[in-house]
């Protein structure tokens, strides 16, 4: 019956030869799925609907300004505020933002900078025109109102 005698053996060592594969697979997985940090919105941003839209041409020349009611109403109140990059600002700080954005561009492209206004539908024109006024002061003449495509009724 020696045939059926179980050999005495300990648990075999786990093969670690595939460990690098697993590690690399994880590494690549996270590399692929990670997105570079996008600006986190601190204000409500429901864009208006419009039908006659024009595409923005060069995304690298576009800077975004967000306007809307703050999400954290306990901290910032309910009045619409302006957000650039990650901070809430007052209209007076807009020119500085524009100059900083212009500095990022090549000298030849600086005049072509486009400011894209992403304004919440519930915001009032008062704050929007304040921003426009400041943009004019900072010599950013190309302004775009961001909106989403509406389905035409006609």
């Amino acid at each position: 019956m020696s045939k059926f005698n179980k050999k005495k053996k300990g648990t075999p060592a786990i093969s670690t030869s595939s460990l690098p594969d697993i590690i690399f697979m994880l590494l690549f997985f996270f590399m692929v799925t990670t997105v570079l940090r996008e600006t986190e919105l601190k204000v409500q941003n429901r864009l208006p609907k419009a039908s006659q839209l024009q595409k923005l041409e060069k995304k690298s020349l576009v800077s975004y300004i967000y306007i809307g009611k703050p999400k954290d109403t306990e901290k910032y109140g309910v009045e619409p505020r302006i957000q650039v990059n990650d901070a809430l600002v007052t209209p007076k700080e807009i020119p500085n933002f524009v100059y900083a954005e212009k500095d990022k561009l090549d000298e030849v492209e600086r005049d072509k900078i486009t400011m894209s206004l992403k304004v919440d539908i519930d915001a009032k024109m008062g704050i929007v025109s304040d921003v426009k006024q400041q943009l004019r002061e900072a010599d950013a003449r190309k302004v775009n109102y961001s909106s989403v495509k509406a389905i035409d009724k006609e």
Partner: protein
């Protein structure tokens, strides 16, 4: 006037060509002034702007003898030079003047 009447009024004004002495003389000379109040809702402002743009686009499309959808396609295709489109742009220039907002409605 409600928002969806803006388009027809604008089209009538732009393409008046001197027929009505109180209206525009020619599309090239027609300027539309858009005045807002500080209390105007942004949504309404964009709706009006959209209607005005549509008025111009429809007139240009009619000038070029194409549909509005075809016109929008040409307008968004910046790579291709289109002589007809440039001509339409010259014949019916988009002239919108925005006046300083009044302060009736408050912030």
């Amino acid at each position: 006037m409600s928002v969806n009447q803006v388009k027809e009024a604008a089209k009538k004004f732009i393409s008046n060509n001197g027929r009505d002495p109180k209206s525009s003389e020619s599309p090239q000379a027609a300027v539309i002034s858009l005045k807002t109040d500080r209390g105007t809702k942004y949504e309404v402002y964009i709706a009006v702007m959209d209607e005005l743009k549509k008025a111009y686009n429809e007139l240009r499309a009619a000038y070029m003898g194409i549909t509005l959808a075809e016109y929008l396609e040409i307008e968004n295709d910046s790579k291709k030079q289109n002589a007809k489109f440039e001509e339409a742009k010259k014949a019916i220039p988009y002239q919108l003047s925005e006046a300083e907002p009044t302060n009736v409605g408050g912030n």
